[in-house]
Structure formats: C-alpha cells, structure tokens
C-alpha cells in the first residue's frame, strides 16, 4: 500500500508525453488534449485533497473556494495591475495558504468533522464574494482578457504547449507528494488517521500536521486556479461553486482516497464524463454523479484502485471454498 514504485510514474509520464501526438492523429479524439489540460488542473486539486482525506482523514468541502481564490487573485493582479503572471500565481499561493491557515487552525483543533462544516460555510461565503464584489471580480459576468503564460519569452499559446506546462506541474507535485507520503510526515499522517490518541502520545503534533496538510491542499488548489485562469483567459464565479467542491470529492471517492493514483484516475474519469461523455444526459448529469457516489461508497470503499485487490480477495475466498 505504501511503496509507490518508479515504474508506474515512468509509464504514466510516457503516456502523458505521447498523448497530444496520438490525439492529433486520431480525429475522433482530437479534442482530448484540451480535456486533458483540465484533467491535469483537477489532478493538482485532487492530489492535495486525497492527501487530506485519505491520509489525514479530514474532509474539505471548500476546495472550489481555494481554486477560485487562486484564479481570481491571478486574474485581478494581471488584468488590473499588469503584473507578471508567474509572480501573481505566487502571490495567489501566499494568499490562499494564509486563508487556509486561518480557516483550518481553529476548526482542526476540534475532533470530528468540524473542518467539513467550516469549509462548507467558507466555500459559500467565497462564492458570494465572487458574485457580489463586482468592482473587483466583475460579478456574475466574470473577468475576461486574462493574459496567457509564457516562459522566458516563449509563449504557451497552443493547447499542446499548455498541456505540457500543466502536466509538468502535476508531475512535480505528484513526486513531491509521493516523497512526503513515504517519509516520516506520511507515516505521521496515516497514524493520525488510525488513532489520534496514539499518534499524540508518540510525539506527533496532531493539530499541526492536520493544518499543514490542509494548507498544502489549499495551495495546490490555488495553483490549479491560476493555471485555469491563464488557460481560458476568462473566469466567472459559477466555475467555483459548491457543486464543484462536491465533484472533487466524487473524483477522490471514485478513484480511491487511500492511494495517490486514485486521485488521478478519479479526476480523469469524472472530467471526461462531464466534458465529453455525459452530454446526452444534459440536466440529469447530476443524477449520474449521485449514482456514482452511491455505488462507490457502498461497493467500492477503496475506489477503483482498490478494485483489483477486492477481486483478488474474492477469488482467493472462492478458491478456498471449493
């Protein structure tokens, strides 16, 4: 469960590197590179959320708000003050991290699901601010003309170029997070999940670790928000509503929250469902998500990544019954 080999990472990297090339050759999936940019952006959020939920055992229903804060800070600073987008992205991370620290510190000191309650309220408040503070955020109409990104004068002006930028971020974060999971900090987090009392008496500063992971997950969401804003060049509040927070939770639950690959698989499947495969359902899309969540929580508590293990166990049991 813990050992995350280098081979899957390498294989996945290979898949990502050739993806735009393959998608370019096959007309039926020609637009998949564009969708994969969004998958990458959501992966940044779900990796952080997976660490928070699966490893530290805390639920946040406010990740959309951190995602939105990242996007809006980037958008406001670049369009109104003409600052360098990379610098704005950094400022957004600082702002989001500080806010997460302020929200997380009091609610994580308490036992139980207070963080879920606090982040739920926080997400709603932030969503209202995006809508109402029209002089800053443009209100429900949103903000347009957000500049694109460039690296040392090299404009990331095509979908393919942006694809590699986003997935570059994903791989850096993925490897960083895997390293953390496989270190003392990761052990401390898993210990907290199993028994806070025991973790505490082994000298683990439980509330500090919980806040730390919460801030980390918020920072990743902020980063994703900035990348989103610079990719679409336009943002409006509806992207960052409560439903998106819940969608993120569905991604984690579907993929499997106890495994970092679950975050990536879940983000991939849900994104493709909502951008491509669920169009026929139109307004009834929500029902499909509800059904997915229901089926997963009842039959697949470890998500899709837990499926092979479950089948294996079933097979072994069947064998021993014979």
């Amino acid at each position: 469960m813990l050992r995350i080999g280098k081979l899957p990472i390498a294989l996945f990297a290979g898949f990502i590197i050739i993806f735009p090339w393959v998608a370019g050759k096959v007309p039926a999936i020609g637009n998949y590179t564009d969708i994969m940019v969004f998958v990458g952006i959501y992966c940044l959020i779900t990796i952080g959320l997976g660490l928070l939920m699966g490893y530290a055992g805390q639920i946040s229903v406010g990740q959309a708000a951190f995602y939105g804060i990242g996007a809006y800070v980037s958008a406001i600073l670049t369009t109104r003050y003409g600052l360098n987008p990379w610098f704005c992205m950094f400022i957004a991370v600082l702002v989001t991290g500080t806010i997460a620290f302020l929200v997380g510190t009091p609610s994580l000191k308490l036992k139980g699901h207070y963080l879920a309650m606090a982040t739920l309220a926080f997400g709603i408040i932030v969503f209202i601010i995006f809508n109402e503070e029209i002089q800053w955020t443009g209100g429900p109409d949103g903000m347009a003309d957000i500049p694109g990104l460039s690296i040392f004068g090299f404009e990331l002006d095509s979908i393919e170029k942006y694809f590699y930028l986003v997935w570059g971020f994903v791989f850096v974060i993925l490897i960083f997070t895997i390293n953390v999971i496989q270190s003392d900090a990761g052990r401390a987090l898993r210990a907290i999940h199993t028994s806070e009392a025991a973790a505490n008496s082994m000298g683990v500063n439980v509330s500090k670790f919980k806040v730390l992971v919460f801030v980390y997950s918020a920072i990743l969401a902020s980063l994703a928000g900035s990348l989103y804003a610079h990719y679409l060049n336009f943002i409006n509040p509806s992207t960052f509503d409560l439903f998106f927070s819940i969608k993120l939770l569905i991604m984690i639950a579907l993929g499997g929250m106890y495994n970092i690959w679950g975050a990536i698989i879940g983000a991939g499947i849900i994104t493709f469902l909502s951008y491509e495969w669920l169009h026929y359902f139109e307004e009834f899309e929500v029902i499909v998500y509800g059904a997915i969540l229901l089926v997963v929580t009842i039959f697949l508590p470890n998500g899709l990544v837990g499926l092979p293990g479950m089948l294996k166990e079933l097979f072994v049991r069947q064998k021993s019954n014979e």
Binding site: M1, L2, F176, T177, N179, V180, Q182, S183, D184, A185, G186, R187, A188, R190, A191, T194, S195, A197, A198, A199, N200, S201, M202, G203, V204, N205, V206, L212, Y216
Partner: protein
Amino acid sequence: MNDTTAENILEVQGVVMAFGGLMALFKPDFKVKRGIIKAIIGPNGAGKTTLFNIITGFFTPTEGTVRFKGRSIKKFKTHEIAARGISRTFQTVELFGNMTVLENVMLGCHTRVPTSFMASGFRLPGAKRKEEEMRDRALNILKFIGLADKFEEPADNLPLGQQKMLEIGRALATEPELICLDEPAAGLNETETYVASSLIKAINAKGITVLLVEHDMKVIMNISDEIVVLNYGQKIAEGTPEAIRDNSTVIEAYLGSEA
C-alpha cells in the same frame, strides 16, 4: 528539595479529577523514584487509567500538579510531554493497524529524528539519511522486543501478545525516561505473560523508569519494586510488594470486609 527532584522522576501531588459530579481521582499523592518499576493497582474504576491520562497530558486535572523531572507538566500538550520523555501504551491496543510493524516503531522515532515536510518532499539528502537512521533505530528495537522477523507484517495481522509487545516497542522508540504501561499482560496467556514480564524487566535494566497498571497479581508481585494501591480515586496503601500483600486495607478493598 533539590535532591528529592533528582531522585524522583515523577511526583503526583494533590491531583483531583472530577468528571461532572464523578470524582475519578482525589489526591492520590505518590512519587516515583528514578530507575524503579512502580505498579499502580486497584479494583476496576479506581482511577488508574485516568491517572495515566493525566500524566501523559490527555486530561488536565481539576486540581493539583504532576511534576516530571521536577517541572510541572500542566502547560504541555500530549505530544510535548512525549518529546520530554514520557511514553505510554494503551489498555486497548492502539496500534496503527494498517501500517507495518516496522513503520509503527519508526513512527515512535518521530520526535527523536525530526524531519520537515519540505525536506522530505524534495527528498533532500538529509531527509534520506534521517529515514535510514529511523529504520536502523526501529530495527534495533524490534530485535530487542523479539519481533525483528515480522517487520514487514501489517500490525493488525499479529496475535494480541505480539501486538502488546509492539506497542511497548513503539513507546520505546520515543526514547522515554518514564514509560507508562497500561495493563501490558491483559488478555495474554501464561507464556505471553512471562515474555511480557521479562521484557518489562529488560526495559527497566536499560535505566528506564516503569510505571505499570496491571491486574495480574503474579506479574505485579514478580517485577515491581513498589506498589501504589488506589480505591475510588484515593490512595489506600503504598509500599513494597511484601508489605502490600499483607496490608489489611488492601485485602478488604479487593475482597470485601468479610474476607
């Protein structure tokens, strides 16, 4: 005053713990000399585990002070107390079941080999070295408690006797000066109990002071240097095993006055 603090690693003074109207502890004053094995005994509900929870910072007493190495521990949180040198096990095993035996003990090294989130994330050379140091320490402890060959097993897969040993091993990894063992022999068979008693003596031989809550009288009489007897949150006797065995108040508390 100074020589008593040097001699006594732990002093419990005037501690009152009230849960609403229930008085769980009422001033069971006692001291624990450095380097001994001291047992706390008493009928169920006497307040033994409550006392452990106070000593390790889970509860803040309503009144009174607990001094560890001469300093009051009132201000410290549980994890800070652990870092200062008090470790514990639990009455009902509280292992990290989904982690391996080795990982459980490695977690105990958490305070002694500090690593940072950033350093581990970027896999800095220092972080890697520390991880190896923790592994070495943990393996040494597993050898000491006799579980070295099980290091890769998930803790949940061990039988209860070994789980209890592992919990002690994890507590040892924090390098405590005082280790509080809450019923280490509960639920163990005779062989396992013998192993547990020998282990506790071996820990004590390393210079670690042991504070022990236990119901198994054979274990208590065999290994402890001093005994405190609690009943309804109050201390009713204190002394050597021989003295306690013959103490009429203690016999009465356990068996009733008719006996």
